[in-house]
């Protein structure tokens, strides 16, 4: 649980150079009344090589694949041709990145981003006069 480097910085992002080519991890995003849950597939990434960063309203998920391969390994068939995953999302203001929770287990990242209290839905009573 939350053994992930969750970094929050208020500094405005400088105009970033075009980042190096990276794999785009597949994700599932599910929203319920209390927040958003994101699942991302990052196989081959260890906890130490996973980074979840929030900067302003930008959520970045990054990871580096580290496989134990024997010496002199020659690749004969490659479907995963890059060693870096990266995916960026823009959060909306009703989400509370301060209370983000992360789990990482066997290459699957689960992020829970709760909504700020006042943004949670309330039933509005309609009174008949």
């Amino acid at each position: 649980m939350s053994n992930v480097n969750a970094v929050r910085s208020q500094a405005p992002a400088e105009t970033p150079a075009r980042p190096a080519e990276a794999l785009l991890p597949p994700v599932d995003v599910v929203e319920d009344a209390a927040g958003i849950t994101l699942f991302a597939d990052l196989p081959g990434v260890s906890r130490e090589k996973l980074g979840v960063h929030i900067e302003g309203d930008t959520l970045t998920i990054e990871g580096e694949i580290s496989l134990s391969s024997p010496e002199g390994l020659e690749s004969t068939h490659t479907e995963v041709g890059l060693a870096v995953y990266r995916r960026v999302f823009t959060l909306s203001k009703e989400l509370d990145p301060e209370r983000i929770a992360a789990e990482f287990n066997q290459g699957v990242l689960k992020l829970r981003i709760p909504k700020v209290e006042h943004a949670q839905p309330r039933r509005i009573e309609i009174r008949v006069a």
Partner: protein
């Protein structure tokens, strides 16, 4: 849809993914078992003079549920990945569903000189690594010319 706009996609990344897909479909002589590319799990295969190494990128599985079989020089990796998506009647909205769910089976033909009795398989960080040694007799030897 209103909620989709909370998560604008990275258009450049989407284009890159599309481009990669196009390159992969240009494979002119696919295997008789189909190219299998883009299937789950993604696979890398490599070899050394002493072994054949297979990496299956299969995140989020219980290693006990993985079925790895080697029969007549054909390695089969099968299993099932349960869904994390909420049931249809749940009060939740699925905005993106790209991850694979369900049963899967992938097959790799191994070279003739592997030793089926000495296979080892490990599941680490969501990657299944199968190592199949080559038979000692098949390993390259230096022949001295006298």
């Amino acid at each position: 849809m209103f909620y989709r706009s909370l998560f604008p996609r990275d258009v450049l990344a989407e284009l890159e993914r599309f481009q990669r897909g196009m390159q992969q479909s240009g494979d002119v002589s696919p295997s008789i078992r189909g190219t299998g590319r883009g299937g789950y799990p993604a696979m890398n295969v490599g070899s050394t003079p002493r072994s054949v190494e297979i990496y299956a990128f299969a995140p989020g599985l219980d290693p006990a549920s993985l079925d790895v079989q080697l029969d007549k020089g054909v390695l089969t990796i099968a299993g099932e990945r349960p869904s994390v998506l909420p049931p249809k009647d749940a009060p939740a909205t699925v905005h993106i569903d790209e991850r694979f769910y369900g049963r899967f089976r992938r097959v790799v033909t191994l070279p003739d000189d592997v030793d089926p009795n000495a296979v080892s398989a490990r599941y680490t960080d969501g990657v299944l690594h199968v190592s199949v040694p080559r038979r000692a007799a098949a390993q390259a030897r230096r022949i001295n010319v006298v």
